[in-house]
């Protein structure tokens, strides 16, 4: 019972609390809504007429500005000018650190040193002309082997004919050998006989000589040599009397002694001795005759012996040849040996060719590397020379007078020859130009030489110098280039020109405040209403638009669904809106 009562008390308390909260919410509902739902003001998009101007914006470029370049490898010490300073020709723009501090130069020098050392070592290297002797030797050996193999093959293939041929040789030579042996034997016998005869004559002469020696020892005078029988003795011819002289009487001759058959004077005391000597002389003559025969016989013996030896040699050779035929391989083996030898020759020749090619490549590489090195050395030398020349330069100076523009360097910057240090804009007589992009329709009224109205207080005027199709949109756009008449113009300055005004009817014209913009482009918020049991509910829907024209206060826009008559567009909101956000309306018409 007590429990139920406590529960009833709780229910009553909860109801009271609920009613109180409901009352509070009702009372403050408007305030709460104001805090959470932004209030917007909308307007209906309407058809309308809009005056517009054919305007275009462009950026001024100075055509006769002077670009000041940096010095290769130098470091900026201090920049002496700031943008828009007026400088005279020769004024210092920036001072440079001394070259000793330049790492670039040191790096280049180190590199040059390394390259020169490499070149020197390369020069001192022994000539690396390739020696192909080994390859040639290998080829020759292979060729010799091939030749042997071919010969063997030939012999194998002609084994029977060779054998037959050699047998014939043996047969022929054997016959000859017999004959020659007989000849030799006969000649030898003749020589032997003659030698015996000579020995016999010598034996006959020896006692005769001994007798002579005895006679000589006994003091027998040595006789004059007796001429051989039949031998004429030469005598002094008798002097002939001169012509006309009276012949004198000749003494009477001595009576001639009686001579023996041998013509010797037996009365002579030397007769015996002469007789002996004559006998010896006769033996000597016989001996000479025999010796002459011996020589001829010996010659015949030698010739026959030589022929015999040759004959025997041929027989031996033929026999050897026949014996060698027995040790020859089979024809297939010989053919294989030839093939192998041929392959070996080919391999050796290929090895030589490869080696020559490789050597050529290596040589070309080395040559290229050397050329590259030489080029780099030359380049480095030039750069170092340039840097050292530049080292004497301690500052970058203004090449012309004018205003400094766009200083791109600061202290400590490393410069290169391509670095743009700054630009110098002429103080007077600036040649400025601007390019504008007009629609083709607007550009129809623009002609070369026509002055365009400049909507900028800084520029006096500009004149059209060329009209060309826009490369990005050749059909729809024209690039109008104008020459700017002003000494006050700066590069990068934007100017706007008007090329006439236009007046058109548009389907959807709204106050310009309705058009918002973010990174996706222009857009408007359309108010979408819906009825709910608690009343009308409004939300906003983002619609991306294109602004066709504007006169500042109003804009003609084009977007999906905006051509309907009941489209209400937000022109003012308390807070930035988001797509789909709930809003409340302040008024239905723009003020």
């Amino acid at each position: 019972m007590a429990k139920g009562s406590a529960r009833r008390t709780k229910v009553i308390k909860a109801m009271v609390a609920f009613i109180v909260i409901l009352a509070l919410l009702t009372f403050f509902s408007n305030t709460l809504m104001n805090l959470t739902i932004p209030k917007v003001m909308g307007t209906y998009a309407s058809r309308g007429n809009l005056s517009y101007s054919n305007s275009a914006r462009g950026t001024i470029t100075v055509d006769n500005q002077t670009e000041v370049k940096g010095l290769e490898g130098r470091t900026v010490d201090k920049v002496m000018v700031t943008n828009y300073d007026l400088v005279q020709k020769g004024d210092t723009i920036a001072t440079l650190k001394s070259i000793e501090e330049s790492e670039d130069l040191q790096t280049k020098k180190d590199r040059l040193k390394t390259l020169e050392r490499e070149a020197e070592y390369e020069d001192r290297n022994p000539s690396n002309n390739s020696d192909f002797t080994t390859y040639y030797d290998a080829i020759n050996t292979a060729k010799a082997t091939l030749s042997d193999a071919q010969d063997t093959l030939y012999r194998v293939q002609n084994r029977s004919s060779v054998e037959e041929e050699n047998n014939e040789i043996i047969d022929e030579e054997s016959v000859k050998e017999v004959s020659l042996k007989a000849t030799v034997d006969a000649a030898a016998k003749t020589v032997e006989d003659i030698n015996k005869d000579i020995d016999a004559i010598d034996a006959s002469i020896a006692p005769l000589q001994a007798q002579i020696d005895v006679y000589t020892a006994l003091g027998t005078p040595t006789p004059t040599p007796v001429p051989a029988p039949g031998e004429e003795t030469e005598s002094e011819p008798a002097p002939t009397a001169p012509e006309g002289a009276t012949p004198t009487a000749t003494p009477s001759p001595t009576p001639a002694p009686a001579l023996d058959p041998d013509g010797l004077d037996p009365a002579s005391p030397t007769y015996d001795m002469e007789k002996l000597m004559l006998k010896i002389s006769q033996y000597e003559d016989q001996k000479k005759a025999l010796e002459s025969q011996l020589e001829a016989a010996q010659q015949r013996l030698d010739e026959a012996s030589a022929e015999l030896a040759e004959c025997q040699g041929r027989i031996k050779d033929a026999q050897s040849e026949i014996d060698a035929l027995k040790s020859l391989p089979s024809e297939a083996a010989a053919q294989n040996a030839v093939n192998t030898a041929q392959n070996a020759v080919n391999s050796a020749q290929k090895a030589l060719s490869d080696a020559q090619t490789q050597a050529g490549i290596t040589e070309d590489k080395a040559k290229d590397a050397a050329e590259d090195r030489e080029e780099e050395i030359a380049k480095l030398k030039k750069q170092i020379e340039e840097l050292e020349k530049q080292a004497k330069i301690t500052a970058i100076t203004a090449p012309v007078s004018g205003y400094i523009y766009n200083v791109t360097i600061s202290s400590g910057d490393q410069l290169t020859a391509k670095t743009t240090v700054t630009y110098i804009i002429p103080e007077t007589d600036r040649a400025c130009s601007v390019s504008f992009s007009f629609s083709t329709q607007a550009a129809q009224n623009i002609s070369i030489g026509q002055p365009l109205e400049v909507t900028s207080g800084f520029i006096k005027g500009c004149t059209v110098s060329s009209v060309k199709p826009d490369p990005a949109d050749p059909r729809g756009k024209r690039i109008v280039k104008c020459l700017v008449e002003s000494n006050d113009a700066w590069p990068g300055e934007e100017i706007t020109v008007n090329a006439g005004k236009g007046n058109d009817n548009y389907k959807c014209v709204v106050p310009s405040s309705a058009v918002s913009e973010d990174n996706n482009g222009n857009f408007v918020y359309v108010i979408v209403g819906s009825s709910t049991p608690l009343g009308d509910k409004y939300t906003v829907k983002r619609v991306d638009v294109t602004v066709e024209a504007t006169d500042g206060a109003a804009s003609a826009i084009k977007g999906e669904g905006l051509d309907k008559y009941d489209v209400m567009i937000v022109v003012r909101a308390e807070k930035p809106l988001e797509n789909g956000q709930r809003v409340r309306l302040e008024d239905y018409t723009a003020k």
Partner: protein, 423 residues
């Protein structure tokens, strides 16, 4: 009737119990701690939301990146310059890198475009927004302020007559100023990026009401220094204490930057000036504020890109004041700005900030106190919760057998229940 009587009785009992409970609560320190902490937090957070909501020009990056998977960062640089005749002279270029020249815009744009292109290529993300045929993917604007005397004219009976005269701040703008300053328009629109007519002007609600007592003033003309301008829009300024202190409620008009030359002439006094350091180049009006919203493919790279794009900026000697507006009202950024004390003031010294930056800086100051209050509130809340927990623990320890009455833990409530049951 029985039910009504019963309810009355219950109400009387409840009233008595509530009085007792309230008395106990009031006497309890943890209760007050929690109340105070909640109040502080509500005030701090509420005011922070209110203040940051007011500064929609600091949320440009968020708006710009809506619907995109790419982050953007809003960067601003403020430069100095010379005003030869005080605030009524437009700011002219000062040599030495402390000023931003109009020609510097081209250099900065080129550098920023290069950064955007590089980032786009590196991340393989397309920066889809294009301006004409040129891919951009980022946006910028620039401005400079000057005080001028304005005369409002109106056509009466076919004659254009002057109906009022007032000094107003002229904001000379270039680029897509509208994208960086999301105005609430009372009529018309803002100056188009590509000028239709250089002599167009947008005025604020203060000036419109002053001259015409109406906001529907499009087509009326205003004379400045002999030059006639046509009103094409009326914008509503922020209200509130900060807006007032920052000068947002002053008379103000917006014109094209290029119109400065029309109003003040090309020889803006700098030729006649003998002051050292003043450039002798004619018509070299200085940019007071340059803003850009940049794609940020890597967090923080936008800041570096922007600083690198400034021609005369260096970390050691900035000469220009660079502000990273994205997330500048975050807690850490606010504390980073305030501490070390006085550092931001030193950095900002010597610069002439436009009204929106002044308002942002004032907002920063107030947000600092709001965050302090909120932080203090959080600390108090924690203390209150801990104290309450300890109290309940002590009570439990004193009477462990106490039955659970589902919230009616108070002794008096138990007695009241018993009484009700008896009746």
């Amino acid at each position: 009737m029985h039910i009504i009587d019963k309810t009355k009785d219950l109400w009387n009992i409840e009233k008595g119990n509530a009085k007792k409970t309230l008395l106990k609560l009031v006497m309890a320190v943890p209760f007050w701690l929690i109340v105070a902490s909640l109040a502080l937090m509500a005030f701090g957070i509420g005011r922070a939301i209110y203040l940051t909501d007011k500064r929609s020009d600091q949320k440009v990056a968020e708006v710009w990146q809506s619907g995109s998977d790419m982050s953007f960062r809003h960067m601003v640089v403020y430069g100095g310059g010379i005003r030869s005749e005080g605030e009524t002279s437009p700011m002219t270029y000062q040599e030495g890198g402390k000023s931003i020249h109009i020609a510097d815009i081209a250099l900065m744009r080129q550098a920023l475009q290069n950064s955007a292109d590089t980032g786009s290529a590196a991340s393989k993300k397309n920066l889809t927004y294009t301006e004409g045929s040129n891919l951009r993917g980022w946006e910028d604007c620039y401005s400079s302020t000057v005080m001028a005397s304005l005369e409002a004219t109106e056509v009466h009976d076919g004659l254009e007559v002057t109906i009022g005269k007032a000094d107003a701040q002229l904001v000379a703008v270039g680029g897509n100023f509208k994208a960086f300053h999301p105005f609430r328009y009372l009529s018309g629109g803002f100056l188009p990026v590509t000028p239709v007519d250089m002599n167009q002007i947008v005025i604020n609600d203060v000036l419109a009401w002053k001259f015409y007592h109406s906001y529907d003033v499009i087509g009326n003309r205003i004379l400045i220094n002999g030059e006639m301008f046509t009103i094409i829009g009326v914008v509503e300024e922020n209200t509130g204490k900060i807006a007032e202190l920052a000068g947002e409620q002053e008379n103000r008009a917006f014109i094209y930057f290029g119109s400065l030359g029309t109003i003040y002439g090309n020889n803006s006094g700098s030729d006649d000036s003998e002051e050292p350091g003043v450039s002798s180049a004619p018509a070299d009006y200085a940019i007071q504020c340059y803003e850009a919203v940049l794609p940020e493919l890597v967090k923080g790279v936008g800041v570096t890109d922007f600083k690198n794009a400034l021609p005369s900026y260096s970390l050691s000697n900035p000469q220009l004041y660079v502000s990273n507006n994205t997330g500048r009202f975050g807690v850490t950024r606010i504390f980073d700005t305030v501490f070390p004390l006085g550092e931001s003031d030193r950095e900002r010294m010597g610069y002439e900030f436009p009204y929106w930056e002044k308002a942002a800086q004032l907002t920063e100051d107030r947000l600092f106190y709001d965050y302090i209050l909120t932080g203090f509130g959080i600390v108090l809340l924690l203390i209150g919760v801990v104290a309450t927990g300890l109290k309940f623990r002590a009570k439990k320890a004193a009477d462990p057998e106490e039955p659970d009455f589902s919230g009616y833990s108070d002794e008096d409530e138990k007695q009241a229940n018993e009484l009700l049951l008896k009746e």
